[in-house]
């Protein structure tokens, strides 16, 4: 089911993401998703996340759909040219996958196949535009599609705490112009910065629904790593100290969940939904929602 319908009904839309394995067995992934993620609106499936080769997003989306969940197909432009992207979109539509998140994708040199050819034939903006064309019964070269045209809920990402936030907003506007209907954000740790971002875009007249992005902080080391290496993320020192203060509480997830729940509560008035990137802690999602007052 298209998640735009939930936004249209004014629901607070909660999604979480799962990452396909580097292998052929997804039984565990499906079971975990069924157990912990079946109550939420939809489940994102990442696409060779961080440029590390894994099973594709589409087959995992199909398996989740068959298991009764509502998948969001993440599509990056790093690995496929416009022909391959479009044929996968048509295939997704056939299997009833109707939520797509458009991403440019990390560069190949950052992952585990650094000598591969980076494609970037399209980008996050032109892929959204391409989806609109498919919905209008045409491919991106202007040729007619045969039969019923697909219809997608078209999403994209934005990095609200980026140090180049103005350039990010300019890109966000281009995504909306291209057809974007909802946004999921990069992980937020600074509620104040996030609130001012939301006020700024709403003040500019941007009305597209935004889902707050949350990565549950697991420990101080993970935070320091993200601060040094992940774009658009800056975790305040006090938060890192909070995690470092009691190693047992951090390990059990107690501290991380408390921090994440606090950020969600602080940011909730500004957003239309929540997107949780649990990174292996999918089993803690129900508890997080409870602590954040969302369950």
């Amino acid at each position: 089911m298209r998640i735009t319908e939930f936004f249209d009904r004014g629901e607070f839309v909660i999604t979480a993401e799962v990452g396909p394995p580097k292998g052929t067995n997804i039984d565990g992934l499906i079971e975990e998703a069924k157990e912990y993620l079946s109550d939420i609106s939809a489940v994102n499936v990442t696409d060779n996340q961080s440029s590390v080769m894994r099973m594709g997003s589409l087959p995992v989306c199909i398996a989740l759909k068959q298991a009764g969940l509502n998948p969001i197909l993440q599509m990056t432009c790093r690995d496929r040219n416009r022909m391959a992207l479009q044929s996968d979109l048509l295939g997704a539509a056939y299997f009833g996958i109707d939520n797509v998140l458009s991403l440019t994708g990390d560069h190949t040199t950052l992952g585990d196949h650094p000598t591969a050819k980076p494609v970037f034939d399209l980008d996050s903006v032109s892929l959204l535009y391409n989806m609109v064309q498919l919905e209008n019964g045409k491919d991106i070269a202007g040729n007619d599609l045969v039969g019923e045209a697909p219809k997608f809920a078209k999403g994209a990402v934005v990095s609200p705490c980026s140090d180049s936030v103005d350039a990010q907003i300019a890109k966000m506007e281009r995504k909306i112009m291209a057809g974007c209907e909802f946004f999921q954000t990069q992980a937020v740790y600074d509620s104040e910065k996030f609130a001012s971002f939301m006020k700024k875009i709403r003040g500019m007249g941007i009305t597209t629904p935004v889902q707050l992005g949350i990565v549950i902080p697991k420990n101080a080391g993970m935070c320091k790593y993200m601060n040094a290496n992940v774009a658009g993320i800056s975790i305040p020192d006090e938060m890192i100290q909070e995690l470092a203060a009691d190693k047992e509480k951090a390990k059990s997830g107690e501290t991380g969940l408390a921090i994440a729940a606090r950020i969600i509560r602080e940011c909730r008035p500004y957003v239309q939904g929540l997107h949780i990137m649990a990174m292996g802690w999918e089993s803690k999602v129900p508890q997080l929602l409870e602590m954040a007052g969302l369950k």
Binding site: L110, M177, A178
Partner: protein, 207 residues
Amino acid sequence: MLITRLKDKEVIESLITTKAFVVNCHGCKEVSFPEEEANELQKELMAAGKLTGIITTDYVCNPDNMKLRLERYAKEIEEADTVLVFSCGIGVQTIAEYMPEKKVCAACDTYPLPGYQGVTPLEHDCDQCGECYLNITGGICPITACSKSLINGQCGGAKEGKCEVDHNMECGWERIYRRLAQVGRLDVLKCPVQVRNFATYKDLSNE
């Protein structure tokens, strides 16, 4: 060798707000430049009162040489809102950097041909990709200045202004955004969605 091809007349005209100053580069001998077509178009624009002056020089990508020549036209350049450069992509980028306050536009698209590519400064690079994007990026090339050659804006990978691929390289789209803000042209980021055209000069000649 490389070959430059004039953009469509309507496109070139649309780049001029009221008046333009023209710089023609008769280049290095490695560039095949459409001299007659350019002359004809410029005559027309001049007759219509749309040009403040024309300078024809060689090696505009040599900044010292170019500076000396352009200094003599300071008044004509001042009077123009746009500087239209008829050259390969490197010439346009060199002039855009020399005049960071001015709207500098490319009037040509550049395509590669086999053979020697000429000597150009290392600061700027032209991939000779055909359809030239310098007019929507304030004269900074998104193909060579961005690791992903993105033409619709910044990806989410820049950290502290540096590219995710090379931490010693400034994010090309941050430079573009800054330049556009400086020349008051952020509105060009509202241009239609761009999809790259990978047609080669040979493909175009066979049309």
